[in-house]
């Protein structure tokens, strides 16, 4: 049984269907990228796993069926979602944002230690810990969103376009840190990206979505080297 198994996943925004049967699996400790153009259903796939949209089909995480659970319960199982738009609590301080990430946990000492380790990954957040999060730059808010997710001690991280709207250097920096997180914490990641080249560098596996359907999947290196796929789907 795979760590995360998605079978025949359909998703609906009111009457509009956005996913038409998406299937994939993710192994524990691995990074899987979901790629595709605008409107392909990448974000919806993540939102469906977190039960933020109405779904049909099956999502099994670590042996547990997620359908019928509330978003809060899914988070409680150890799935941390770094949402589209970063989801910053803009009026709260950096530190309060991180505390919120650990909301479902009880052990105060562990939480404090994890906060220091987040500041270790992202020293810039440490320098700004008392600052209102809304005043951070886009890159810093992305770091904060990843830090907030780490505060859950997640078994699985869902990352929605961490490169969105950021300068190439910052994107590089954030991806290096994500690689380091995987190395040190062994966290599994499901990564949604439009920036296919950088995502394929980090990910072990990748799936291609097109208008709500999975069209291809496999090891990242294979997708990267396939000339046809590169030209028609990845655009580089």
């Amino acid at each position: 049984m795979a760590f995360l198994e998605v079978r025949g996943l359909e998703a609906y925004y009111r009457q509009t269907q956005a996913l038409f049967g998406v299937d994939f699996v993710l192994d524990e400790g691995s990074i899987t990228a979901v790629l595709g153009a605008n409107g392909a259903g990448k974000t919806t796939t993540l939102r469906a796993i977190c039960r933020m949209v109405r779904t049909e089909g099956e999502v099994v995480f670590d042996g547990q069926d997620l359908s019928g659970l509330s978003t809060e319960r899914v988070v409680g199982l150890g799935i941390a979602h770094v949402p589209e738009g970063r989801g910053t609590f803009v009026r709260q301080s950096v530190e309060e944002n991180l505390q919120l990430g650990a909301y479902t946990r009880k052990n105060k000492a562990d939480i404090a230690a994890d906060m220091e380790s987040v500041y270790g990954y992202f020293p810039r957040l440490g320098e700004r810990r008392r600052q209102q999060a809304g005043t951070l730059s886009g890159g810093e808010q992305q770091m904060l969103a990843i830090g907030r997710a780490l505060m859950l001690r997640p078994k699985l991280m869902l990352l929605d376009e961490p490169s969105f709207g950021l300068a190439p250097l910052i994107v590089q920096e954030i991806y290096e840190i994500m690689a380091r997180i995987r190395e040190r914490e062994g966290t599994s990641m499901l990564l949604v990206e439009q920036n296919a080249s950088i995502a394929l560098e980090l990910a072990d596996h990748a799936y291609l979505l097109e208008t709500g359907r999975g069209v291809r999947g496999g090891e990242s290196s294979l997708l990267r080297d396939d000339e046809d796929i590169r030209r028609s789907y990845l655009g580089y």
Partner: protein, 291 residues
């Protein structure tokens, strides 16, 4: 000068009650984007509960604490049973639910306890061990107690885990869900807290305006004025706004010719004035939305 000081201190006392109502209104507003028009009637009802408990022989302070506790539960239940089902309904539907609550509480209170005016005992002794020409014992007690309660509320929001979660749920519900906060229950908790804070205001104002089903009508209006003046997006501003309105009300009553008849008009002028000239209030944020 003595008169001026007396007016100001009495204004601060009544203003701190407006602050309670204003804070309750702002708490709900921040979480739901709506004014709870029934906030005053809920507080009135809480005060009747306290009055009944006193009638059954409970000491005044015990009755106060029990009524505040019962109000908390009632607030939670009202949110779960009445407000939650319409949370995604159009704005007008929600407003009508709030107005319906107002009318229901008013009518039911009149039905249970009748519309006759009843005296309500002060929580504070007549003799505080000293005498002041400037402020009476009840007013002094009101200021001390409300400031204490408001400080507790702020400490709760500022320093506790649940307080932080409630702020997060109000500010960014989607993101709050994604860190595991049960946004629905935070809303219910907010209603409970608001009902409790309102109950404190009701029980403190009852000895001044006397207990009857319409006793909160004016207080709610001043509370709204305070909330708007301070800024509906700023709890601290709302508290300050309540105090300012209380003091201004007393000054207008004394120093403006015919002012004692115009106190309530003044509150309405303030509400309209703020909405026209500074909708965000003195301390509120101007919300800019991209369209």
């Amino acid at each position: 000068m003595d008169l001026f000081l007396q007016l100001t201190l009495a204004g601060l006392a009544i203003g701190s009650i407006y602050s309670c109502v204003a804070l309750a209104v702002v708490m709900i507003y921040q979480a739901t984007d709506h004014f709870n028009f029934a906030q005053g009637e809920m507080a009135m009802f809480s005060t009747y509960v306290a009055w009944t408990l006193i009638g059954l022989g409970a000491p005044v302070w015990l009755a106060f604490l029990l009524a505040v506790g019962i109000s908390f539960l009632a607030g939670v239940i009202i949110e779960r049973v009445i407000v939650k089902p319409v949370e995604n309904a159009p704005v007008l539907n929600q407003i009508i639910v709030f107005i319906g609550l107002l009318v229901i509480f008013n009518a039911v209170a009149g039905w249970i306890w009748e519309f006759t005016i009843k005296p309500f005992p002060s929580l504070f002794p007549e003799d505080l061990g000293f005498k002041s020409e400037l402020i009476g014992p009840h007013h002094l007690g009101v200021i001390a107690l409300t400031l204490g309660v408001l400080a507790l509320v702020f400490a709760f929001f500022r320093f506790t885990r649940v307080g932080l979660a409630m702020r997060a749920a109000a500010a960014n519900p989607d993101s709050a869900r994604l860190v595991g906060v049960s946004v629905g229950w935070m809303l219910a908790l907010g209603w409970g807290l608001a009902a409790s804070i309102g109950a404190v205001g009701g029980i403190l104002v009852a000895p001044i305006v006397f207990l009857e089903p319409n006793m909160m009508a004016g207080v709610l209006l001043y509370g709204f004025a305070g909330a708007l003046l301070g800024g509906v997006s700023s709890p601290g501003g709302a508290v300050l706004g309540g105090l300012v309105v209380g003091v201004l009300e007393n000054w207008v009553g004394q120093y403006v010719p015919g002012g004692s008849e115009l106190k309530l008009t003044f509150a309405l002028i303030l509400i309209v004035g703020v909405l026209v000239f500074k909708p965000a209030g003195l301390f509120g944020r101007v919300v800019v939305r991209r369209v």
